[in-house]
Symmetry: C2
Amino acid sequence: MDEKKIPNYHSADECPITATIDVIGGKWKPPIIWLLLKGPMRFGELHKTIPTMALKVLSRTLKEMEADGIIKRKAFPEIPPRVEYSLSRKGESLRQIMTLMSEWSREHIINQVPGEQ
Amino acid sequence: MDEKKIPNYHSADECPITATIDVIGGKWKPPIIWLLLKGPMRFGELHKTIPTMALKVLSRTLKEMEADGIIKRKAFPEIPPRVEYSLSRKGESLRQIMTLMSEWSREHIINQVPGEQ
DNA sequence: CGGTATCCCGGGCGATACTG
DNA sequence: CAGTATCGCCCGGGATACCG
């Protein structure tokens, strides 16, 4: 088998990059991962930090990320309730990619001159 | 100024990761970048390699990527016409990120056990 | 060969109100 | 405090036909 052979994509999902983007992409997953890389956060903390994100969307997004196995949800049986979200080991393994993407945007997007290559 | 201060996101666009995902994300940009990292390709070649992608969508996506400055379009004044697409220097600078994302999907998505962390 | 033009659909995303 | 329920919109993505 030729390792350099160009593959045929009968579906976008066959691309390994797409598989990863499906997990870290979408409108709100990037900022959430970026925040949780600094440490665990409560639901309300996330809401206050990203105030423009609707509660339902935050809740739904966190569930998706939990289902993907990149974050962990820990509920404390207290009154009032407290729920803490943190990255799983799988989520932590994204740190290098996230850091590189952050650096790439600083170097290639912020303050870029249109038409520049 | 505290470098470790947690930022407030009044918009998703303020996240540096989002800025990068906007350039490399979407349904078809990942496979196109992944292919062009192996070398330049003609329009028809891309179409044959990703046959499920509608021509209009391929055309539109390539234009967006050209506008973002990550690919270059070279038209040869021949009959029949020939157009070659290749990564710009800025596109090439994504290689490490793409490679890491490809490896990440191999290690964490393909053949993963549901529920595993 | 390498595209545009036109029309269209589904789902990601969201605003608001309510609840254990 | 930490969520659900309900309702709805926008737009990325797409099928088909046509053009230089």
